[in-house]
Chain length 210, copies 2
Amino acid sequence: MTNELVHQKFHHILDETLIKEILEVGLFRHFSKDDIIIDVDQPLKYIPLLLSGSIKILRGDDEGDDLLIYFLEAGETCTMSLACCMGTTKSKIRAVAEIDSYLVMIPVEYMQKWFHSNESWRNFILESYQTRFNEMLETIDTLAFMKMDERLLKYLKNKVMLHDSNTLDTKHQDIAEDLHTSRVVISRLLKQLENEHKIKISRNKIEVLV
Amino acid sequence: MTNELVHQKFHHILDETLIKEILEVGLFRHFSKDDIIIDVDQPLKYIPLLLSGSIKILRGDDEGDDLLIYFLEAGETCTMSLACCMGTTKSKIRAVAEIDSYLVMIPVEYMQKWFHSNESWRNFILESYQTRFNEMLETIDTLAFMKMDERLLKYLKNKVMLHDSNTLDTKHQDIAEDLHTSRVVISRLLKQLENEHKIKISRNKIEVLV
DNA sequence: TTCGGTTTGTAATAAATGTTACGTATGTGA
DNA sequence: TCACATACGTAACATTTATTACAAACCGAA
């Protein structure tokens, strides 16, 4: 079943030989919602390929403060881990399962080997880097140029897009943590967005109208 | 003379054959201080390798507002251009010569070709990505977790480090643009840093003491 | 239904940053 | 040396965001 998923999610970019090898050496793992897949300062020994679900990539500082950088979706890999694996080998980010998720974990040594031996893997890595690079730029943009109310709306819209549903079941506190601000600020701004008829709020639920 | 520089700055990472090819197909360019090397929305047809000098990589929004992302030093390449070249082909950043600088510009098609044919080039690209990735993370950190006074001091220290001199000849307005704030704010905070004996201010000059 | 924990609303206040306005210093070239 | 542009200092004020505190609403379990 997981084998099927590997084919399904990766055959468009990785060649048959490689997929076969992935099935041999990869470790299949399941994570439940809110499980921490990798944490800051943990050593990275595997490259994750996401088969299903969704993973939140966060930057955490020393005091446990977080900031959402981007989401990982099925068919993608975490470029952070690539960058980390090659260099310091310590994770600089935290990865948390947003919903139940299945992963294949590839031991780093294969990542290196394949990079020089398999063209489709090279392209995959390169493409991943590009995608994430642009997403990091986007994040920087957001932080540097946007006010909190804009950031909040953007965050909500993005979540709605990824979830394929207009309604998010989330509490204000969670949003505050992702955007690295306080719950009070989020509540205030959500109320404001509701007054502008852009969202509808109820307990543990936010309906996005725009 | 520029040929010498290519060897000097890149022989530790790129092999002889490749360097020879770079000398054949690369275009040598000189930029003076404050020259715009590439601007937002310009199409990217070349990968730059920096031979000497220093280049400021900025993110610019629509209204001409800027934010410094990182500096490029001799022996490095701009990973942004890699990411841009492969994808949208339009630059998402602005590159400005910080001081007089010499570059070799490699046409994109070679970048692709070498990526699959030359191991040392592959490693170079991969290493560049790692370095920049970490720097982008650092930038995100700074924006998300630090206050303006901390950001300012960090900016000054970084510049001092890159310049090999305790004294920066820069005006408050320039700093304000790099950090995406206003001149008044920078002047205020600089004064504050001076009172804390961390810097010494004079016209067009800042001496960093810590 | 009642208790108790969780989630949300809101006010009051503080701190950080942004904006406007204008005065003062400093260097340059006529 | 005088006029002028540029760079800097600073006050007053506006806006945005953070913090604290507490009340109200909601929900599930006993």
